[in-house]
């Protein structure tokens, strides 16, 4: 409550190898930090108390946006402002730029990184305030009781935990079929964005595929969707600083007036970005227009189940899907 962090040892490794060694050395007592926008809140509330904090923000090898033949790579500690200013990203993946530019506030984007934006923990107030919930290792969910205040929580895929993904880039990266490159103990592995974000049924204590010894080093976006039609919209209470109530990202290709390929994902409705497969299936081979808008609205949130205070997310998902369709008309 007093905003005073616990004491910890701060490390500034000079290479990924050193960072990796440190995180291996400290194990569960270690904590990777870059922009600090998620971490410092945890520390100031003293609800997370790592003994060693390993700052990777200054690792040059993790920073920058590079053009490759088949993909564009974004280093994990590239700041959101650097992404927003990137002509390369703007040219190929404007949907990602639209998402990035709506994250938090300009000040936060100056320090916050893409890695942090995708790896951040959920913002469930009960969990963040230190309630011993399932996600925190306890044996109940405080956000899903008959009286819980859960306006911001999930309408899909509830498995003990009802927290949602807070990320604005996540649905865009899922739509774009991005790949996450993860370094662990000197080895690297690649995970599709869609598998990178994990729900409570997979592991209730994590939001992503990242395990304790992992460092997210790079996000690769295939050029498959470069120049595609796109749509991103974030609905939040305020025009800056807020997490999404619901957001939506879409990329699509058309041929002869028909939608040949489309990927659509929605944030803020479940623990992971939700692929809107109903809408994708609906649209394939169809022409965007009033009928598709109406039908997209109808199927977008099928299966959703509201908690006490988030009924609005159901029509909102439908409305956003309809708007995405409308953007192609």
């Amino acid at each position: 409550m007093s905003d005073y962090m616990h004491s910890f040892e701060l490390f500034e490794p000079a290479s990924i190898g050193d960072a990796s060694k440190l995180i291996n050395k400290f194990g569960k007592d270690g904590w990777i930090i870059a922009g600090g926008k998620d971490s410092l809140d945890w520390f100031k509330d003293r609800n997370k108390r790592p003994k060693a904090v390993i700052n990777i923000a200054n690792l040059k090898e993790l920073r920058g946006i590079k053009d490759n033949k088949d993909y564009v790579s974004i280093g994990s500690v590239t700041t959101l402002t650097e992404m927003e200013d990137s002509k390369l990203l703007k040219k190929h993946f404007p949907v990602l730029i639209d998402a990035v530019s709506r994250i938090a506030s300009p000040q936060i984007r100056n320090a916050g990184t893409l890695g942090g934006n995708v790896a951040q923990d959920t913002r469930c107030t009960y969990y963040r305030d230190g309630f011993p919930c399932y996600r925190a290792g306890g044996n109940t969910c405080y956000a899903n009781t008959p009286t819980a205040m859960n306006r911001e929580h999930a309408v899909f895929d509830v498995a003990r935990c009802v927290a949602v993904t807070p990320s604005d880039t996540a649905p865009a990266l899922v739509a774009l079929e991005a790949e996450m490159v993860i370094s662990s103990k000197g080895k690297t592995r690649k995970v599709m964005a869609e598998e990178f974000f994990i729900g409570p049924a997979t592991d209730i204590t994590r939001m992503t595929a990242l395990k304790k010894n992992d460092i997210l080093v790079e996000i690769r976006i295939p050029k498959k969707w470069a120049g595609a039609k796109y749509y991103f919209e974030k609905v939040a209470d305020r025009q800056t600083w807020d997490f999404s109530l619901v957001n939506i990202a879409m990329v699509a290709k058309t041929s002869g007036g028909k939608i040949s390929e489309v990927r659509m994902a929605c944030g803020g409705v479940q623990c992971t970005p939700r692929r809107m497969t109903n809408v994708e299936d609906l649209l394939k081979g169809e022409s965007a227009g009033p009928e598709m808008e109406k039908l997209a609205k109808r199927v977008a949130a099928q299966g959703a189940k509201a908690l006490n205070y988030n009924h609005f997310k159901i029509p909102l998902m439908g409305n956003l899907a309809a708007r995405a369709v409308r953007s192609m008309a």
Binding site: Y4, S7, S105, T125, V235, D237, R238, Q239, F312, N319
Partner: protein, 804 residues
């Protein structure tokens, strides 16, 4: 009026420090050996303290001391404790630890063992009023600092059953008044509306959390504090510390936001002084965190209410009946609920009216005055209802307001006693602003636009009392010829301390360059005048400064007569000289000041009027012999009640698919009588509008009823508006032709209703965009609009509180 300074723009003297960052706020002060305190706050909404053990914490590095609740005088009834031995809300301070660093103090807190026994708690007033409802306090569930002692009030099961599910239950009230024949008014009415409503509580969220530092030296306590008011904070802080005011030196140079929450002193402001006393005077600094500010910074009271309004054919309000249940928080709170009745009586001028209300304790943070406490909630509820009345009557919404709103200067009345206003020109304001805004043509363009959004116009109006009298003023002319204007009003950030000080310079004919405003604490020799709150500064402080300057003027003339012969009436003041009306004889003010010092007595502040307040007398002694002292109590005649009145026009575009409301244009109009400082007024109107939009649309006050703890205590959760949520240009207007004859320069204040006018205009526009559908709930946030536009039920229950 022909003024040299009044009504003209100037740069207030504290602007430079604020812009450059050199301004020193309470937490910026340091002193050798300073230690820091941290507070252990209750994790439970209602609990009994079984034991406190600090033995382990006492051995922690750097720890120098503790203050426990039993060492502090505990308030009676529902008082607000500095440190409580009986916590009644989550976040209530229980004990404090002092250590050499804040880190050490925080670490030590974790080693403190407070054994609490949880007690049943209540966060919804209606729950507490039920026959078997929980009392938020062991001795009762109803109290208010305005004369309502802590007591238990329970309504009958029948009271609740009669109301059903769609109306406010209305059992026994503790406040009730009426005038006129209300029932007959409803019978004559063409349209009668009955609405049940909820207005959420709202935390103050001052950007500068409460900070204070203190030390003791030679038996005197020195405090650096954050407060809106200077002299008004002084005796109450001394009382909290337990010393006579003469033993307290208070520094209050800058205040990083108060909004009523720092109207004067507050309990925790005394904590560093008490800790310092225990540490033999060692300097102690207290800096609250954002979360602690939420708990200690008070909040606007929430309402659950009901109102019935009867309109005549032309929209005239023939009768109004109302009932407000106030969420009073866990202490004595503020009397917002009573202001609902008063504000309704002023803005609508109903021919007959009844008001009933009850303030109910809940285990939530203390509720306190927040900008327009009660009056702005009233505006938010009533203005959309006026629109509904106009719709039902088939008349224009502006026309309906014009037949009710006070105007024409005099004639309007205030409250149950129907006290006449000193001046009211809101009707003129509505007319002038409607023209400037282009109301008629914009209304025609309202409705669904090609982009799918719905454009609409809103009108808002609000009221607050705006002035007092009987306080002291003090000025001094030093032998260098400078005019020192001593003011204890405080520096909330509105710059009105400076604008009102200019009256003294105006009276004495001073060039503004030759004046110094003495402010910022007791060492500056403050007269005792009212604080900077309640929209009163402009009216009240212009009077005190006028009175003090008039006294100085008389003394200058008398000295002129002494030095140059004849009578005082043979002289006048011109260009900082006392000049003979007949010839060319003159002496400079500088010379007259020198003479005053030689004369001593009343001229140099050695002898002052008996009827001055205690602090004024002490302050006069401090400066006695340093110049010509003008010091006087404001005895300028005043009859009636001073109303601050404001109205607003807004144009919005509502997106029915996302619930987003974009403000396209805004014009706020204020009836301030004579404008003191045009630039300052413009900034006030625009700033108040931004705060109003937050109250109406964005700011959230959410409590979990199962745990009695807040879900939105941080700024990113509570969501005060940002500048991206408002248009870049907000427009302002002062009513032309307005002048308050009971103020020596025609001025009156307007700090509060300019917020309520904005918030109510916003809500009026939103309801209009939703085809007149009233949500009767403030704030109106995106989810409610999405639900309404999707024609699905709202998630909240009709009378539910603390959920938006």
């Amino acid at each position: 009026m022909g003024f040299n300074l009044i009504g003209k723009n100037f740069t207030p003297p504290d602007v430079h420090a604020k812009v450059t960052g050199s301004a020193k706020y309470a937490e910026d002060f340091r002193k050798d050996g300073m230690v820091f305190i941290k507070i252990y706050s209750s994790p439970m909404p209602h609990a009994k303290i079984k034991s406190i053990d600090v033995s382990k914490a006492a051995k922690m590095p750097g720890v120098v001391g503790f203050l426990l609740p039993d060492e502090i005088k505990q308030p009676k009834d529902a008082g607000h404790a500095i440190l409580s031995n009986y916590p009644v809300f989550v976040g209530q301070p229980i004990l404090a630890v002092a250590a050499e660093t804040e880190q050490q103090a925080e670490d030590a807190l974790e080693a403190v063992n407070v054994n609490l026994q949880p007690l049943a708690f209540c966060i919804d007033p209606l729950d507490s009023l039920k026959p078997k409802g929980v009392n938020a306090h062991k001795d009762g569930n109803v109290a208010n600092r305005k004369g309502i002692k802590l007591q238990e009030v329970k309504w009958s099961g029948k009271d609740f059953a009669l109301a059903g599910d769609d109306k406010l239950p209305m059992g026994k009230a503790v406040t009730e008044w009426s005038y006129g024949d209300v029932e007959s008014g409803f019978k004559k009415a063409k349209v009668v509306l009955e609405e049940t409503f909820v207005s959420a509580a709202n935390a103050h969220h001052a950007l500068e959390p409460r900070s204070a530092a203190a030390y003791w030296e030679n038996g005197k306590c020195h405090v650096w504090g954050s407060t809106q008011s200077s002299s008004f904070a002084h005796p109450s802080l001394a009382k909290y510390i337990g010393i006579p005011p003469t033993k307290l030196n208070l520094v209050t140079e800058f205040c990083g936001g108060g909004f009523g929450g720092k109207a004067y002193s507050y309990p925790i402001m005394a904590l560093p002084a008490l800790m310092s006393k225990k540490l033999n005077g060692r300097p102690v600094m207290m800096r609250l965190s954002r979360a602690e500010e939420f708990y200690n910074g008070s909040a606007r009271a929430g309402f659950q209410g009901w109102v019935k309004i009867g309109f005549g054919n032309d929209g005239r309000v023939l009768a109004m009946d109302s009932y407000v249940i106030q969420d009073n928080g866990s202490t004595g709170g503020f009397w917002d609920f009573q202001n609902f009745g008063v504000a309704g009586s002023v803005i609508l001028q109903p021919k007959a009216m009844r008001f009933r209300g009850i303030p109910v304790l809940t285990n939530t943070p203390p509720k306190g005055a927040q900008r327009g406490p009660g009056e702005n909630q009233t505006a938010n509820i009533l203005e959309p209802i006026l629109d509904k009345g106009a719709r039902k009557l088939g008349i224009d919404r502006l026309a309906l307001r014009l037949v009710n709103t006070p105007g024409g200067g005099t004639g309007a009345k205030v409250g149950p006693k129907r006290v006449p206003v000193t001046s009211a020109y809101l009707r003129e304001g509505l007319v002038q602003a409607s023209k400037k805004f282009g109301y008629s043509s914009r209304v025609k363009k309202s409705g669904k636009q090609a982009n799918g959004k719905i454009r609409s116009i809103g009108i808002g109006q609000a009221y607050h009392a705006a002035g007092y009298n009987g306080w002291d003023g003090m000025v001094r002319i030093t032998p260098d010829g400078k005019l020192h204007i001593h003011t204890g009003v405080g520096n909330l950030g509105t710059y009105s301390y400076a604008a009102t000080s200019r009256v003294a310079a105006e009276v004495l004919g001073y060039d503004w360059k030759n004046t110094v405003i003495e402010r910022g604490g007791t060492l500056k020799a403050m007269p005792f005048n009212i604080g900077q709150f309640g929209s009163n500064t402009s009216f009240t402080m212009t009077r005190t400064n006028f009175a003090a300057a008039t006294d100085a003027k008389q003394k200058l003339l008398e000295i002129g007569a002494m030095m140059m012969g004849g009578k005082a009436s043979d002289y006048e003041l011109r260009k900082e000289k006392v000049v003979s009306k007949k010839g060319s004889n003159s002496i400079t003010f500088a010379r007259a000041a020198q003479k005053a010092i030689e004369l001593k007595g009343k001229y140099a502040g050695h002898v002052v009027d008996e009827d001055l307040k205690g602090l004024t007398k002490i302050s006069a002694k401090m400066i006695a012999g340093t110049g010509l002292v003008g010091v006087a109590k404001d005895k300028i005649p005043k009859k009636g009640s001073v109303p601050a009145l404001a109205a607003a026009f807004i144009e919005i575009e509502l997106d029915p698919e996302t619930g987003r409301v974009e403000i396209l244009d805004y014009l706020g109009v204020a009836d301030v009588g004579q404008v003191l400082h045009p630039q300052g007024l413009d900034a006030q109107i625009r700033g108040a509008a931004v705060m109003g939009f937050g109250l109406a649309a964005l700011e959230r006050y959410v409590y979990d009823p199962a745990y009695g703890r807040p879900n939105a205590r941080g700024l990113y959760q509570a969501k005060p508006p940002t500048y991206l949520d408002v248009p870049a240009n907000l427009d302002s207007l002062a009513v032309k032709g307005a002048y308050d004859k009971q103020n020596p320069v025609g001025a009156k204040g307007v700090g509060e209703p300019i917020m309520g006018a904005a918030s109510s205009a916003y809500l009026s526009a939103v309801a209009e965009a939703m085809d007149g559908q009233l949500l009767n709930r403030v704030p109106v946030v995106a989810d409610q609009i999405i639900n309404a536009m999707a024609k699905q039920p709202q998630s909240h229950k009709l009378l539910q509180t603390n959920c938006q």
